[in-house]
């Protein structure tokens, strides 16, 4: 390796030590297993206690908004998937609903219920991933393997309907890519039974485990008012005792017709965040079971030529359908000018899409209100004052997803 010039430092830390006596400043840097590889925490430690933490994200900023400005409304759905890649379907449906509201399209009843079912199923996978990673970082390999095993069943099962394990690109403006294959719902029931067994074992392993209670209880405490002031939403806010959940407060899709509770924590510490996610998984499974009974027959995509591709047989026989198909693919659906802000309850909090359209096939601006970005802004409040080793469960329980945080 030839002697190269020193590598530049991409960030400017807020403090580099020396203000207080006897403190060291250390990087819990971007490439660290606890910070999921994309967040850098410059921490000033006195011994092992974190005095000040300066959090830097942006290591996974891939230019989502700039990409959206040069793709049609349908072409950018794969980009939307890779925002929160643990629960990609929730991103798809939030984005599609925003565009549908701009176009004034009413989706079919089957699509409404199926989107709700798949969103809850994707939320289940997200909470499984988050809890598995957090427990593994605390040393519970068995719980990690149980949860990732279950998540793998879900991935294979979702691949049966969408074709991909992680990045589904399944939402379409005005409907879905395709309908469920037959036998899918039977397999869904099997997986939900597996869920009860596997998560039951994890509850047994972890909930009253002395080590976990000492590591998680009263660590990373956050007050309710302070959480709202820092813009925190989702399970982290609910763990502080505030029952705010968009699925209950502003019901969208089919959540108005489902009966489910909003699990709420007591103290807003790591244990409550863990337990709120585990209880939310139970609620999601309860909702999925209701939705399987409520699922009406009928088409999945709305029969509206402005956004849904015509049937393949028509494309090969009629010239209008062929032109329609061609124009939809090449120029994208023509969305009338205007702006809209649509927010869904993502797995980490309020996932909002602020879309500005100047009436064409290509959006003028697609801005994502990312819960992870807001949580990273507030996480230093949960780190300061605790031990360096407590950074790992706190960061794991907040579930910062790089793609959604840095967009």
């Amino acid at each position: 390796m030839s002697a190269r010039p020193p590598l530049p430092n991409p960030i400017r830390a807020a403090f580099t030590g020396g203000e207080h006596e006897g403190t060291t400043v250390v990087n819990i840097g971007p490439s660290h297993p606890a910070t999921h590889g994309t967040v850098q925490i410059v921490a000033e430690l006195s011994g092992e206690r974190i005095l000040r933490a300066d959090v830097h994200c942006g290591y996974l900023h891939r230019g989502f908004e700039k990409e959206c400005e040069s793709h049609t409304w349908h072409n950018l759905i794969p980009y939307v998937d890779r925002l929160n890649y643990c629960s990609a379907l929730i991103n798809d449906f939030a984005y599609c609903e925003a565009v549908e509201r701009l176009m004034g399209i009413e989706i079919t009843p089957r699509c409404r219920y199926l989107r709700t079912l798949l969103a809850e199923y994707s939320r289940l996978a997200d909470h499984l991933t988050c809890t598995a990673a957090m427990l593994m970082e605390l040393g519970a390999m068995t719980a990690f393997l149980y949860l990732v095993m279950l998540r793998d069943y879900i991935y294979e099962h979702l691949a049966a309907v969408t074709g991909a394990r992680v990045t589904y690109s399944f939402g379409r403006v005005g409907g879905l890519a395709n309908d469920l294959p037959d036998g899918w719902l039977r397999r869904l029931e099997e997986i939900l039974r597996e869920y009860d067994v596997f998560v039951g074992r994890v509850h047994g392993l972890v909930d009253r485990n002395r080590i976990f209670i000492d590591r998680l209880r009263d660590v990373g405490v956050l007050g309710a008012e302070e959480a709202i002031n820092w813009g925190i939403t989702g399970p982290v806010l609910r763990s502080t005792g505030v029952p705010r959940d968009l699925r209950k407060d502003t019901p969208y899709l089919a959540y108005g017709e489902l009966d489910f509770e909003v699990p709420v924590g007591i103290k807003g510490d790591n244990y409550d965040r863990y337990y709120v996610r585990m209880r939310e998984m139970d609620e999601s499974v309860h909702m999925i079971r209701q939705l399987v009974d409520l699922l009406p027959p009928g088409p999945v995509s709305v029969d509206d030529r402005r956004c849904t591709l015509p049937d393949k047989r028509l494309v090969y026989t009629e010239i209008e359908s062929l032109i329609n198909h061609f124009k939809l693919i090449i120029d994208g659906p023509q969305v009338p000018a205007g702006e809209v802000y649509t927010a869904h309850e993502g797995a980490n909090g309020e996932l909002g899409f602020y879309i500005v359209s100047t009436g064409g096939g290509v959006p003028y601006k697609v801005h994502v209100r990312a819960p992870s970005f807001v949580h990273v802004g507030a996480i230093h409040r949960m780190l300061e004052g605790y031990q360096l080793a407590d950074l790992v469960p706190t960061f794991g329980s907040v579930n910062m997803i790089g793609g959604e945080c840095d967009r």
Binding site: L7, P8, N9, G63, E350, Y354, V356, V374
Partner: protein
Amino acid sequence: MSVGVHDRVAARWGAQALEVADSHGTLAILVEPARLAEVARSLKDEFGFNLLLDVTAVDWPERTPRFDVVYHFYSTRDFVRVRLKARVPVDAPVVDSLVPLYNSARFAERECHEMYGIEFRGNADLRPILLYEGFVGHPLRKDYPKHREQPLVPYRK
């Protein structure tokens, strides 16, 4: 109920605001940049919008006040959203910072500053958050070419 809040806000600020409209269920208010902080404070104190969701900007190159600075608020009491917009010219894109009111404005304003070049008077820490030190230009402006890369590490031969 929720519609009430929208009407009360519209009534309260209808006169001073340049434009008040309902955009798909969210009340959209357009105000002058100077009056922004005052409206934001009143939204928070009087109408209970205690959650600042998002700060972003929209770039309209061919329009004279080129940038729209867009704020989204949410009330955790009435479950209602409001969008506050202000138009700032490109030569003096300065707006009052909302950091004294909402802590969630810290990161959001840093991102808006580095992506569009909007100055936030009162926010002391406007370091780049998504981009890196030494990045020249504001990528989300329409005149910044999509493919202009500024690599930090020299490429191999």
